[in-house]
């Protein structure tokens, strides 16, 4: 044990020649250390809310597109969300290409939204970019809206035959997820 003597001076904290008390240094050091510690503790508290490993692991899906007729669409599931796979008719392709790109809210050509050599295979998320409803138009007999693509009934967003936003509150085109053709008839999404 070392000897300690408590004097009035040490209670106040010895003052150096520059007017800074030693006790001030301890104060600042302790509060900073506690602050840094608290900031580090926040990390797991915030990060636990993010998607967990199993949710992330579910993020790839294979779809067989051979059965889809021209003009038909199917709904698949990708990341627990609907995925629209649609085989466009020549007329729909023509309509999509006839649009002036600069007039679009989210300018993209049909070719940019499909894979080379598969201009007729339109693969998008079935999630409205407004607030996330599933637009109509992929199912048999559903309302395709004024632009012949998809129509979101929630707040009235209308998409064209390239699933680009044309009218209503949605800010973006239906998202094209990352995917590749693993053969002529099978698509791997994610």
């Amino acid at each position: 044990m070392t000897e300690t003597t408590v004097t009035a001076n040490s209670v106040e904290g010895a003052e150096g020649t520059d007017g800074v008390r030693r006790r001030d240094f301890i104060n600042v050091a302790a509060v900073s250390a506690a602050g840094a510690g608290a900031a580090v503790v926040l990390l797991p508290l915030i990060s636990q809310m993010a998607p967990s490993a199993d949710v992330l692991a579910e993020s790839s899906t294979e779809v067989d597109v051979s059965g889809i007729e021209v003009g038909q669409a199917i709904k698949a599931v990708f990341r627990k969300q609907p995925l629209f796979v649609r085989r466009l008719t020549p007329k729909e392709i023509e309509e999509a290409n006839a649009v002036d790109i600069n007039s679009l809210r989210d300018p993209q050509t049909l070719a940019e939204r499909t894979k080379e050599g598969h201009l007729d295979m339109l693969i998008t998320m079935g999630v409205c970019t407004h607030l996330g409803c599933v637009p109509l138009g992929a199912g048999e007999g559903e309302n395709k809206g004024p632009f012949g693509g998809y129509f979101c009934p929630c707040h009235g967003s209308a998409y064209d035959t390239a699933a680009r936003i044309r009218q209503g509150p949605a800010p973006k085109n239906l998202e094209v997820p990352p995917y590749e053709f693993t053969s002529d008839t099978v698509v791997k999404v994610g």
Partner: protein, 427 residues
């Protein structure tokens, strides 16, 4: 704090005297809602809704804690668990209907409480803090009710959760990661359901804490009253007990009659039938609506259909929806008239009854209607008036209006002029 003539708590029984020394809870109660709290003698039934809201909170906590004993927040069984409560648990149907309709009743009561505040400008000094805490309570209630509605995991639960968390994706740059973080996934699922359950359980207790602050702040100046004239003397007040315990008790009885008429005879009237269909992430119901108490704000959200001042429509809608409530925070400073009560403010009164109230009714109606014309257009006009009312009309009225003469005191307002009233000019 209270008025100097407030009666002092004087326990007679030795046990109560002992308790008063060691833990003066009975004294607190006596001074808060007992004979020791002087209250203006002229409060109308519009002053019942505070106590009723407190009752609703207790009702929700009691029924909610019991429901939680039988419920399970696993997305594969949550829907079945709710049906299990309805069909198998003894009296489970009663508890669930009491909780679901209790939420609706809570909002009816709180809306009336808020509109009382609008009409009598209860938000003005010295009661601004009470008002600000009230708006905080309202925001917490909205969050609680939203998350509660997700728990039965029906179609409206799921799509409501998706659309409302989708609001956050409108925020530039961080929006989408934020939505994924809030949900713990790309769409509402197990992670979201569990955290909503956890927070739905927690938030009512946070509300209870803010309610305590709200009442604490209230007890400093005491209640306002229908004349808006402050208490001047003892003859202006009566003790809370027995006068307002009786009046509040009567009001509670009437409210319970209406509430139980719904619980027993119309238990699903305020709900949406689609919520009895299990959540299906692949199919959106034809017409998504939130619970009725969110309709006015939902209408404001949907009325931004085109980009505005180069802000995307989606973000504009979200900002407007939140602003519609946040503007209430500024009311104490927007309405500068020194007169509180709408009864003495001819112009203010007109804009209240023929401006604000019909606008809220229209927004309410449009929020529940499909997102089609003419509803969208009507909602746009109503949204414009809503913001004009608070941000432009109120400040202008309060500077140009000539208020009607105020009574000298509450006593005078109730009993007619007396000598004191002749001696001094009106406030």
């Amino acid at each position: 704090m209270s008025f100097p003539w407030a009666k002092e708590y004087t326990p007679q029984h030795p046990l109560m005297r002992y308790l008063d020394e060691k833990l003066p809870v009975p004294r607190l109660v006596y001074n808060a809602v007992g004979g020791g709290y002087p209250v203006p003698r002229n409060l109308s039934y519009m002053w019942n809704f505070g106590v009723l809201a407190g009752f609703c909170l207790v009702l929700q906590i009691v029924t909610g804690v019991i429901l939680a004993m039988h419920y399970s927040a696993d997305s594969t069984i949550a829907f079945a668990k709710t049906e299990h409560i309805m069909r198998d648990v003894n009296w489970g149907w009663l508890l669930r209907y009491a909780h679901a309709n209790g939420a609706s009743f809570f909002f009816v009561v709180v809306y009336l409480h808020i509109f009382r505040g609008f009409f009598y400008s209860s938000y003005k000094a010295p009661r601004e803090m009470i008002w600000l805490l009230g708006v905080v309570i309202f925001l917490l209630m909205m969050a609680t009710a939203f998350m509660g509605y997700v728990l039965p995991w029906g179609q409206m639960s799921f799509w409501g959760a998706k659309v409302i968390t989708g609001l956050f994706s409108a925020i530039p740059l961080v929006g989408e990661p934020l939505q994924i973080w809030l949900l713990g996934g790309y769409a509402p699922d197990d992670a979201a359901l569990n955290r909503f359950f956890s927070l739905h359980f927690l938030l009512p207790f946070v509300i209870a804490a803010v309610v305590i602050l709200h009442i604490w702040a209230l007890h400093i100046p005491g209640s306002s009253n229908p004349t808006g004239v402050e208490v001047k003397s003892e003859s202006d007040t009566v003790p809370f007990h027995p006068y307002y315990t009786a009046k509040d008790g009567y009001g509670l009885g009437v409210a319970l009659l209406i509430y139980f008429a719904f619980v027993f005879f119309l238990p699903n009237y305020l709900g949406h039938p689609d919520n009895y269909i299990e959540a299906n992430p692949l199919s959106t119901p034809a017409h998504i609506v939130p619970e009725w108490y969110f309709w006015p704000f939902y209408a404001i959200l949907r009325s931004f259909t085109a980009d505005f001042l180069s802000i995307p429509a989606k973000l504009m809608g979200v900002l407007a929806m939140f602003a519609a409530i946040l503007v209430w925070f500024f009311l104490p400073w927007l309405d500068k008239s020194p007169v509180r009560s709408g009864h003495y403010r001819p112009l203010f009164r007109k804009f209240f009854w023929f401006g604000l109230i019909p606008t809220m009714a229209v927004l309410f109606y449009c929020g529940g209607a499909p997102a089609e014309q003419p509803y969208v257009m009507i909602a746009q006009l109503a949204t414009a008036y809503y913001f004009l009312h608070f941000l432009v009309i109120l400040p202008i009225i309060s500077s140009i209006e000539r208020p009607e003469p105020l009574p000298y005191s509450i006593t005078e307002a109730v009993l007619g002029k007396d000598e004191a009233a002749q001696l001094e000019p009106a406030e």
